[in-house]
């Protein structure tokens, strides 16, 4: 087996992930390279879910019975774990949502209903980038339509990076919010946070970072990022589906209005008017994803036990190897940075004029799971004049052998359609 410096003990890690033993298509062990879409779950997370449901399940808060107290302690304990994981100054800055998309929509809606100085209206501007996931485009299009605000964005360079050359024209005194992706799910690009945050702060704009593809893969410190909000999603970081996170600065969470109304988010309700609980509860209407928070807490424990810096190093090594090996495939063009510098472990490419659907189908037949399409980032496909891409994306359990299988699979694709 190919050995690369910085790899984790993959054999040991794979034992934690039951799905990786899955056999498909008459005896082929799955080669799971669709991690940017969702990650697999370690046994430890499934155990936490089962223990929650089998022993502690109850609705949280408001209960004096022992199950309610245990469930509350587990749920709020998960919040503590997430806060520590991202180095939040306060646990009360961690809001549980259903996914990153809800987290992003939550910010867009708060700003739409906010008072000055946060309010987005027809006098103001919103800034995003051309490499955003649809979940960080459509909420702003909706907000712009509904408030009359202007939506602006940074374009992309030919090699798959943000074009910040006109940053002073894009982010101006009118800008209220700048929302951008830390690591692109389609290009793999890691974006330069500091330059954008600095400019945003100069003009007094808020900054929201979509860290959906970053938090699972590298150490993230929200204080170091310097943003006002950071969004991410549980299912891509070994956690369950059905849970996302929004971190936000305490003062902002105090000042900004609620989004969804209902149980859990109130202080006191009468038919005539209501007052709201302090954050984070103000933004968590209804019964929260209790078991999912507990599962995400277990995921964070798991990732921490391995070490986020080690995971990042592992993925960097795999990415470096994959970028090199893929470029050996004839007619293959990587869409995005072609080196492992400032780059995550999602690699998009096109293979001659074979349509990505066909590439993906033939790879699947060999047990290799990749994603094909526009990866919820259609503007990137438009930008590079391609209908879609094939994307292979790696995680802590990915091995050089997975890369080799992919490369061999692509040879087979070329022969099939040759």
């Amino acid at each position: 087996m190919t050995q690369l410096p910085g790899l984790l003990d993959i054999e040991a890690i794979r034992k934690d992930f039951p799905l990786l033993d899955r056999v498909v298509h008459d005896g082929k062990k799955i080669v799971y390279l669709d991690n940017a879409a969702t990650s697999q779950k370690p046994r430890q997370v499934l155990d936490a879910l089962n223990a929650y449901y089998e022993r502690h399940n109850a609705n949280v808060h408001r209960g004096v019975h022992v199950l309610a107290e245990e469930a509350t302690a587990l749920y709020e304990g998960a919040r503590d774990k997430i806060a520590t994981f991202i180095n939040a100054p306060s646990r009360d800055e961690v809001i549980f949502t259903k996914n990153a998309s809800e987290s992003l929509n939550l910010v867009a809606n708060m700003l739409g209903w906010a008072d000055e100085p946060y309010r987005v209206d027809r006098e103001t501007e919103i800034v995003i980038t051309e490499m955003e996931h649809h979940s960080n485009i459509v909420p702003w299009q909706l907000l712009a339509q509904r408030t009359g605000a202007k939506l602006k964005w940074f374009g992309l360079t030919d090699d798959g990076r943000l074009d910040l050359s006109n940053i002073e024209e894009v982010i101006t005194e009118k800008t209220k919010i700048v929302s951008f992706v830390l690591v692109s799910n389609i290009l793999g690009t890691v974006n330069p946070v500091e330059a954008i945050v600095r400019r945003a702060q100069e003009v007094g704009a808020l900054v929201l970072i979509d860290a959906s593809q970053a938090v699972p893969h590298m150490p993230i410190d929200v204080q170091e990022l310097g943003a006002d909000f950071v969004a991410f999603t549980g299912h891509k970081m070994c956690g369950p589906t059905g849970i996302g996170v929004l971190w936000g600065r305490q003062e902002l969470l105090e000042d900004l209005p609620p989004f969804l109304g209902g149980g859990e988010m109130i202080e006191t309700v009468s038919m005539h008017s209501s007052t709201y609980a302090p954050a984070p509860h103000k933004f968590e209407a209804g019964t929260p994803p209790i078991a999912q928070a507990v599962g995400l807490g277990a995921a964070v424990d798991y990732l921490t036990s391995i070490g986020m810096d080690k995971i990042a190093a592992h993925e960097h090594a795999i990415t470096e190897y994959a970028v090199k090996r893929l470029q050996e495939v004839p007619d293959l063009r990587i869409i995005g940075p072609t080196t492992a510098e400032d780059r995550g472990a999602a690699i998009s490419f096109v293979l001659g004029d074979i349509h990505p659907h066909d590439v993906g189908q033939v790879l699947d037949e060999q047990g290799i799971a990749v994603r094909v399409g526009h990866h919820c980032a259609r503007p990137v496909c438009l930008r590079y004049g391609i209908p879609a891409t094939t994307r292979a994306s790696f995680y802590l359990y990915s091995s050089p052998a997975d890369v080799d299988a992919l490369v061999a699979g692509l040879e087979h694709v070329r022969n099939f359609f040759g």
């Binding site: 298509h25 008459d26 349509h355 990505p356 659907h357 066909d358 189908q361 033939v362 037949e365 094909v372 399409g373 526009h374 259609r378 496909c381 209908p387 879609a388 099939f416 359609f417």
Partner: protein, 153 residues
């Protein structure tokens, strides 16, 4: 290999040498998108009375969607509306069968080359690719003949 049941020789042939590709004059034009994958087609139909005299199209998509448009062109052009509709309905039935219909002789007679798509029906993610042009044709036809009706009304 199981994959061969989807990528029949005939489908790959149509994909590599599509029939009637390109946009020509028509009575109606539609643009259809497969939202689950982003495949797109622009399709025009031209009728002479009840007879479909041309289907022209352009678009981007995988081998299945491209071949399917080519087969559609080959099969439907020159047919009467009612006959074309019967073919479309039969194709739809086959594609939605989840691999459970083994085309019999009667079906082969109706579908001709299009029976080659039987294998695609086993792949739910690809059924929409195969149906894209057929749905576009149905829609364009409704528009063209609706217009025609309005014109004669």
């Amino acid at each position: 290999m199981k994959l061969d049941s989807m990528y029949q020789e005939l489908i790959l042939d149509h994909y590599k040498h599509p029939h009637g590709r390109g946009l020509r004059d028509g009575d109606a034009e539609v643009h259809h998108v497969n939202p689950t994958c982003g495949d797109e087609i622009t399709l025009r139909v031209k009728y002479d009375g009840e007879t479909l005299i041309d289907v022209s199209y352009e678009g981007q998509g995988c081998s299945i969607s491209q071949a399917s448009a080519s087969v559609l062109n080959e099969l439907l052009v020159g047919k009467d509306l009612s006959e074309a509709q019967k073919i479309q309905a039969t194709f739809l039935e086959l594609m939605q069968s989840k691999g459970k219909i083994e085309p019999d002789e009667a079906m082969e007679e109706v579908l001709e080359d299009a029976v080659a798509f039987a294998g695609v029906s086993k792949y739910p993610a690809r059924v929409k690719c195969a149906l894209l042009s057929w749905m576009a044709w149905k829609d364009a036809t409704a528009q063209a003949l609706g217009d025609a009706e309005r014109k004669t009304a």
